[in-house]
Amino acid sequence: VSVAEPTKTAQRRARARRFRRVDRSKLARWGLSIGLFFVIWELIGRSGAFIAIVPASEVLPDLWHELGSGDLIRATLGTLSIAAVAFVIGAVVGVSFGTILGVSKRWSDVFDPLVSASFSVPISMFIPVIAVYFGLEFKSKVVLVVLFNVFVIIVNTATGIREVPPAVIEMGRAFEVGRLGMYTRVILPWASPYIITGLRIGLGRSVQGAILADLFFRTQNLGLVIRNAAGSFDMSQLLASVFFITIIAAGTMGLARIVEWRLLRWKSG
């Protein structure tokens, strides 16, 4: 323990030094970019050239007021709950189906064209028919969001599994790993960077899909906030909610990136 301690402390210090160095320059660039964004927004808003763009100095107090009342937070939680349920369903279905496509050449020959096509197809065109079959409430919203996220998870999982080198599987066999163990201890851990990246992208799509679902099915949550603001032509409130949604989406993706980095740390050593 006495030998390991100083090494650990030195490593921790080196990491902290590196973090501080990278962080400062990165933070400065981020600050500059965000500052520029607000300055340009304010200038365009004050110029009066665009009737729909209200200056940031009017939008931000409105956002603060909305947050204080709790309405925006409740609406966001409502939308995120749809995204979360659909994401869990999409993740389970996507990883399972992706594993089958990754392992079986026969199944992948059958389904690959359909799954690849789903990338370029606008899923939102199914909104009217989803409404016919599932109604306008929670269930239909979850179905739409699952369609938004599941294909990217399937493709990433299948690609990750196909990328497992035969030598790794051979090694597993040499260590007499059983059939189930081959999946849980060799193939899936090896494919985990692809799977986790697919889940991260799927999470982003779930948030997008949930907002869309709240706008197109029964208007609720963030969809209602946007529709009310647009309906009453309250541009300040509309921009405040759009700005808040952007922050939530960026925050969700940022969190997902941190989780991805932490989960995959073992692979980069």
């Binding site: 096509a117 370029s120 197809v121 939102s124 065109m125 909104i127 028919v129 869309l212 197109f216």
Partner: protein, 79 residues
């Protein structure tokens, strides 16, 4: 560049359908009208198939173009 155009086209198709469903014009209006009547659901699915065919078709053409141009870009890279 071609990969960017391909991804951009996909996004444009998706945006177009969402926008037209929102304002109920063009394709969006047709999708909404056909799906709201059980007798015209066949037309709805025909329209869906047409949109899928256009989206997948253009995507495939651009993919092939991308593959064809790859050796040229590698040759430039190697110079």
């Amino acid at each position: 560049v071609v990969a960017g155009v391909r991804l951009g086209f996909g996004m444009a198709m998706k945006g177009m359908v969402i926008a037209e469903l929102w304002v109920l014009r063009g394709t969006g209006r047709l999708l909404e009208t056909f799906s709201s009547s059980p007798r015209r659901l066949d037309l709805y699915y025909a329209l869906v198939l047409l949109i899928v065919a256009i989206a997948v078709g253009v995507n495939e053409v651009l993919k092939r173009l991308e593959r064809r141009l790859r050796p040229a870009s590698r040759a430039i890279e190697g110079r």
